[in-house]
């Protein structure tokens, strides 16, 4: 058939059941993204004869004779479409994966739709921004400062270097490359929560035309590892193999089929005949701990302990116990004691780009893995261990990454792709479907958290007890780290002489939990901050006052289950400011109930986070001067929407007296050098940025030295400018210094603390249970904010994601152990209509440890949100919700029961 694509007359031969999205991508129109493949997210939006459609739902053959316009057809870097320009000026994106679809859709809105934007945009999902920046783009707001308008670069709202590429659809995400000879891999997944694989017959699958090979457990190294990726591999239990003979959750990989096409690979999977011996399963952590419960990971105790599983026979991955003082004495000294149990549910990251990768062996015999990851270097190490290959023979890289939120601090697909490409000798691609992403990747650890607090009448805490039961699902990736981290800063933020902290993390036959924004803190902080609010009510003390009375202050030891970690310091302290900023803003909001059907109330919660994960986090940066006088900066860290790329350019530019536009950035590619532990724990700025600062400062010193020696002057006599050096009243072009290079490194060992305080004023509708947020205010202690626009975006995005989890998101597990809502239409994430604006306020602090005074601020805004919301609802209604989400049906039922009880 013939059709016009972005102005070009093209010939195409669609497959009968093919959707237009695939046809367009096959023809190289990579601006058309695959986010959900089901018409829910809008990332694939294109114009068909000028009308926006979800191209994933449009049968390709229906494009015959029609005009298709993708984001790349709207405009190009040299001639931006007004909507593209608007998104660029507002920086209406973070990871940018949804942006092409957003722009295409917005470009076609009429006046009426613009007037009711949230409804018009309900088919366009963004997981990063919380939509404020997108609304700004539609409204024509310019948030980005132009470079020449700024005197200094740090503290300014400079735009992301990838901006033009993102808004024109030319930024290359993982699969946005045409690879000759590409083959495709599909996975057969377990239908059982717990089963032993008895036999697998591959004959029929291998007979399917186009199928190249089938990989089963017989092809899998019996090397045990963890999908979790940490700097120190011993942080996680080695409980996974590439293809196992025991299925431990519905959705676990059973076998893989590699074929010429996705269709053939799917057909091959359908022809795999597997015999299982179904085993009894445990679906909840409580049942997993019951004596006699089936063991999810069975094996000789000494082997299991060697794999760092505490007590596999009893499904216990790890436990902790510790504290300070004498809890019983503290409780005895209390005038008021509060004790309750709180629950945080299973939620998912829902990054718009699913896990996806392309693997191949290049001409030099290097195994190349182009993947959507937060941790390219750690995946390289893991593949080297798995394949018993030298690290140097493996290259892992990512370009643009479509969101992560912790979900890509794992090796979930690269292992099987490596085996596949080594077997078939051709490039192999795997793109997880949205359903696979929901059902078979990772989620937040569900937790049951018991809190007991004792306080004197004046509010002084005398006792703080925390007991955590965490559900890691079928595998222990991040099980231990999340448990320990969750029990750390949430408790340490309070000054209290008597603390006791206990925790256990257990296996169940459910999809594995993993790293998730907040890394355990969102669950424990929901419990502790809710409990503090309940205590405040019992004491009749204002919740802000109660926090002020008990918050740690500079000089106090930070104590939780252990002693104070040696390398965490008060590099700066803005908690007091954050509390006051939120209190002032909330108290100015006096909106009252509009009728007796509504109750209005306010609530708050606070959170602390170490600015860097513990146990070492390494980064290196290299910067050099190119022949054309530009700087070339190479960093290892990946930017998956956090905006760290911009920050690196700003930090380097400041150190060199230059401008971000004079610096070319190369990143997240193990072939470039620049080792980095990865972009997790909000380290893109504080660890990698510090390495960049050191590299840039070292290079600046080298330039000055060279300039001085060239002119026989003192070293301090030169001044660096954007593109030249001024010395002895002469201007020497930077090109004269070509070849000068310097490296910087940081080891993440001195760590500071950052704070977040969230406040809400809410109205609760008794007849329906609906919660309306009248005011959302968030204060962040981010140190010196290097790019306020981006940092605000991180806070807004964190609050937005946390509101989804607090209000309605829940990954549900049915009686068979399967995820029952593996699609955006059943796992609802916030749309533009679901979110209130959030006032973002920054404490005025300067960190003595972080680069240029900055602290981390990516994951932590998530942490206080759920408790602040539940506290506001309790203030409004006198009904306490100790379990998230606070969905309307649940809220209504509790309010009704409360009313009936009088």
């Amino acid at each position: 058939m013939r059709l016009v694509i972005d102005g070009e007359d093209r010939e195409a031969t669609p497959q009968p059941g093919q959707c237009l999205r695939t046809l367009l991508r096959d023809m190289g129109r990579f601006g058309v993204k695959r986010g959900c493949d089901a018409g829910d997210c809008g990332a694939c939006s294109v114009l068909l004869d000028g009308v926006p459609v979800h191209s994933c739902l449009m049968p390709a053959f229906r494009a015959e004779g029609r005009v298709v316009t993708t984001v790349a057809g709207l405009g190009n870097p040299a001639a931006l479409h007004p909507t593209q320009k608007a998104f660029l000026d507002a920086q209406g994106y973070q990871c940018g994966f949804c942006t092409a679809g957003m722009i295409v859709t917005v470009s076609a809105l009429d006046q009426g739709q613009l007037a009711s934007l949230p409804e018009a945009m309900k088919g366009n999902l963004c997981r990063c921004t919380g939509y404020r920046a997108i609304s700004d783009a539609v409204a024509g707001v310019t948030n980005v400062m132009t470079e020449h308008a700024v005197a200094t670069v740090t503290g300014r709202d400079l735009g992301a270097p990838s901006g033009v590429a993102v808004v024109t659809g030319t930024a290359r995400y993982t699969l946005d490359v045409a690879v000759p000879g590409l083959t495709h891999l599909k996975l057969l997944r377990s239908p059982h929560a717990h089963a032993r694989l008895v036999a697998i017959d591959t004959t029929a699958a291998l007979a399917v035309p186009g199928v190249l090979c089938v990989l089963t457990h017989e092809d899998s190294p019996q090397h045990h590892f963890s999908t979790a990726r940490h700097q120190d591999w011993r942080d996680d239990p080695d409980d996974s193999v590439v293809l196992d003979t025991v299925m431990r959750f519905v959705g676990q990989r059973v076998a893989a089929v590699v074929a010429e096409t996705v269709a053939a690979a799917e057909a091959g999977c359908a022809q795999l005949h597997v015999t299982y011996e179904v085993l009894p399963a445990v679906l909840t952590p409580q049942s997993a701990l019951t004596p006699g419960a089936p063991a999810v990971h069975d094996g000789p105790p000494e082997v299991m302990r060697e794999r760092r599983i505490r007590d596999a026979a009893h499904n216990l991955v790890a436990e902790l116990a510790g504290g300070v003082g004498d809890l019983a004495a503290g409780l005895a000294a209390a005038d008021v004691v509060h004790s309750a149990e709180y629950h945080s549910q299973r939620v998912q990251h829902a990054a718009m780009e699913t896990n996806a990768a392309i693997a191949f062996v290049d001409a030099d015999g290097i195994l190349v893995m182009r993947t959507s990851t937060q941790v390219p270097y750690l995946v390289q190490t893991a593949l080297a261990d798995l394949l018993k290959r030298p690290r140097e023979t493996i290259r892992v890289l990512c370009e643009q990454v479509g969101g992560g939120f912790g979900g890509k601090q794992e090796m979930l697909i690269e292992d099987i792709l490596a085996l596949a490409t080594l077997r078939v000798g051709r490039p192999v691609q795997l793109e997880l479907t949205r359903a696979e992403q929901f059902a078979a990747t990772t989620c937040r650890h569900p937790m049951t958290v018991s809190v007991r607090l004792g306080a004197r009448r004046d509010g002084t805490l005398t006792a703080l007890e925390l007991d955590v039961l965490s559900d890691t699902g079928a595998y222990g990736n991040h099980a231990i780290g999340v448990l320990f981290h969750g029990c750390g800063e949430s408790v340490a933020i309070y000054r209290c002489p008597n603390k006791r902290v206990t925790g256990r993390v257990v296996y169940t036959n459910t999809p594995p939990s993993g790293a998730f924004r907040g890394y355990g803190l969102s669950q424990t902080i929901f419990a502790i901050e809710s409990a503090m609010d309940e205590l405040a009510v019992k004491l009749g003390i204002d919740p802000f006052d109660l926090r002020h009375r008990n918050r740690i202050k500079p000089g106090d030891q930070m104590v939780s289950f252990g002693g104070s970690p040696e390398d965490v310091e008060y590099g700066s302290y803005g908690l007091d400011q954050c509390l006051d900023l939120v209190r002032d803003r909330l108290s100015a909001c006096t909106e009252q109930a509009e009728s007796t059907d509504w109750s209005v109330g306010s609530g708050m919660a606070m959170a602390m986070i170490d600015t860097i994960p513990p146990r070492g986090h390494f980064a290196t940066s290299r910067i050099q001067i190119a022949a054309d006088g530009h700087y070339e900066l190479t960093v290892g860290t990946a930017d998956f929407g956090s905006g760290s790329s911009t920050v690196h350019l700003q930090i380097a530019a400041e150190a060199l007296g230059s401008l971000p536009s004079r610096i070319r950035l190369a990143q997240s590619d193990t072939a470039l050098g620049g080792y980095d532990s990865g972009a997790f724990g909000s380290t893109g700025t504080v660890v990698a940025g510090l390495a960049t600062q050191r590299a840039a400062e070292a290079l600046a010193a080298l330039i000055r030295k060279r300039a001085a020696s060239m002119h026989g002057r003192e070293e301090g006599s030169s001044v660096l400018h954007a593109d030249h050096v001024e010395i002895a009243s002469q201007e020497v072009s930077l090109g004269e210094f070509a070849g000068l290079a310097a490296e910087g490194a940081s080891d993440g060992s001195r760590r500071s603390i950052a704070f977040n305080v969230q406040g809400f004023r809410v109205a609760v509708h008794h007849p329906t249970g609906r919660i309306r947020i009248l005011k959302s205010v968030h204060a962040a202690d981010a140190g010196r904010v290097i790019n306020p626009m981006q940092c605000r975006g991180q806070v807004e995005g964190g609050v937005a994601q946390a509101l989804g989890a607090a209000l309605f998101e829940e990954l549900r597990i049915d009686a068979s152990g399967a995820v029952s809502n593996a699609a955006f239409r059943s796992y609802h994430i916030p749309t533009m209509a679901d979110l209130p604006p959030t006032d973002v306020l920054f404490a005025d602090t300067y960190d003595l440890i972080g680069p240029a005074g900055a602290k981390s601020m990516s994951e932590s805004p998530f942490n206080p949100v759920a408790a602040a919301l539940a506290n506001a609802v309790a203030d409004a209604t006198d009904v306490r919700f100790r379990r998230t989400p606070l969905a309307a049906d649940i809220v209504w039922r509790a309010l009704s029961q409360h009313a009936a009880a009088g």
């Binding site: 493949d37 089901a38 945009m121 209504w892």
Partner: protein, 269 residues
């Protein structure tokens, strides 16, 4: 998404070219649902677009809505001034979970044939006393009251090979006063209860969808008092729907709440 098991697309141009029913076949209208979920059993698509049915046709007595009429086309219908109930069209179209981009492609017939509890076209057709015209496999037509069309979640009255041709909405129904209410767990989310009340000279009719596994139509001889309305709902609703989009007890509560709002709105004689 790609439906990779599909091997062929048939594009009949007239009824006589429709293939005999075969397993692995599916009619294709807008495709917005069909292409949104894996369909591993599908081998052949029978594309209805080449039949070129006129989307909307108004006569003195009825509005004929072709099964292939899109939401957007229906929404753009310009009703005569005395068809005051036509405002339901916009309300029901906007109640679709999918965006306006879906409404540009999704069809009225497709929405009915999904048999979803929350299908807004099911509500519209029921509330406007619609009649479904079904092409039988023997070449004849059969007519079915729209309230009978959806039997339960994913279940319709269509027999194998039958095809929904059009929905007749009688002009008289458009001349009644109506009130529309919809509730959802989230703003613009999937309907958890979608109710339409209509009032003519003598009686009052309440259509309940989304909160129930299939549409429920309750006909009152006169205009009911609050208590009567409440009692009849509890008697006539066989079960409250239970899925991820709302708990059954809450849906029941929401239904009563919205029903009373509708009663109030239409209470003036």
């Amino acid at each position: 998404m790609d439906l990779n098991t599909v091997e062929a697309v048939l594009r009949p141009r007239m009824r006589s070219e429709l293939p005999p029913s075969a397993s692995g076949d599916s009619f294709l209208a807008g495709g917005t649902w069909l292409f949104s979920e894996p369909q591993p059993a599908l081998r052949r698509l029978v594309d209805l677009s080449a039949l070129r049915w006129e989307s909307l046709r108004r006569t003195e007595t009825a509005l004929h809505v072709a099964a292939t009429c899109t939401f957007a086309e229906l929404e753009a219908f310009e009703a005569p001034v005395d068809w005051i109930a036509a405002e339901l069209i916009t309300s029901c179209c906007h109640a679709l979970l999918g965006s306006f981009k879906i409404r540009g492609v999704a069809t009225v017939g497709g929405n009915l044939c999904l048999g979803l509890a929350a299908g807004p076209m099911v509500a519209l057709a029921t509330a406007l006393d619609g009649t479904c015209v079904i092409w039988s496999t023997d070449g004849g037509d059969r007519l079915l009251d729209a309230v009978e069309f959806v039997a339960g979640p994913g279940q319709t009255a269509l027999r194998p090979g039958e095809l929904l041709r059009e929905i007749l909405l009688p002009a008289a129904a458009f001349r009644r006063r109506t009130a529309f209410r919809q509730g959802s767990l989230t703003t613009y989310g999937r309907s958890a209860a979608l109710l339409i009340g209509s009032r003519d000279g003598v009686g009052f009719t309440l259509t309940i969808t989304a909160a129930t596994p299939h549409p429920v139509r309750i006909v009152f001889d006169g205009f009911p008092e609050s208590a009567e309305l409440e009692a009849r709902i509890d008697v006539e609703v066989p079960a409250w729907y239970d899925d991820i989009h709302g708990a059954p007890d809450w849906r029941r509560n929401l239904t009563h709440l919205l029903a009373q709002e509708i009663r109030l709105e239409l209470s003036a004689p």
